[in-house]
Symmetry: C2
Subunit: 127 residues, 2 copies
């Protein structure tokens, strides 16, 4: 379990996204206990202070809940999950489409390229 770090983006933001994705994808479910600050820091080889900041932000966003002395847990608010998923997807979509248009790609090109990219490197879907 490692993260590919992009040097041009703050680490704490990248870890935030890493956690969010795990939640949205269902790998972390509402109420699940999250790794401790020190554990995650050791695992990702990051300073504990940086992980602390990561979780502070996630708590500010309402994604996780802290029980002092016990640990951190994924929020039980189901609506939060759906909202997060939609927000993150919308952002990905918007950036991608506007980016491609800025490169001069037409609408048909964009759809075709996605269809192609999505097909390669994956099994055939059921009917």
């Amino acid at each position: 379990m490692t993260i590919e770090f992009d040097n041009n983006l703050p680490i704490y933001l990248q870890v935030m996204n890493y956690i969010k994705k795990q939640i949205v994808a269902g790998k972390l479910k509402p109420g699940d206990k999250i790794e401790s600050v020190r554990e995650l820091a050791a695992e990702l080889q990051i300073n504990p202070n940086t992980i602390q900041r990561t979780f502070q932000e996630l708590e500010r966003e309402g994604v996780v809940v802290t029980r002092r002395g016990l640990g951190r847990y994924v929020t039980e608010e189901e609506s939060m999950m759906m909202r997060m998923r939609k927000e993150m997807a919308d952002q990905l979509l918007e950036r991608f489409v506007s980016g491609m248009k800025e490169l001069g790609f037409g609408e048909r090109d964009i759809v075709a390229l996605v269809a192609e990219a999505v097909a390669s490197g994956s099994d055939r879907e059921g009917k």
Copy 2:
């Protein structure tokens, strides 16, 4: 002519992308003169040193050519343009598709969402 700056990404990288997009989209053509360091700095309200760094990187990548005392010009290498366009599109595509999959979207969903997003907010294309 302004850039929407994202605080989480270095300015010089954002300006680099801004220039590259202009070239790839044909708004800047091979051999075209580019705004001077001081001009662009004033226009974007950025320190000239930051713009200088932007262009240093662009030159290192072979995107622009410098004629000392004269100014900077878009490279004449046509192949460079095509390569850049493909590289930037591939990167956008890859990040988008892998991002959506990490959020738990299926292949059909992804294509459908793009088709929808691409259609809204744009004129009807000719046949």
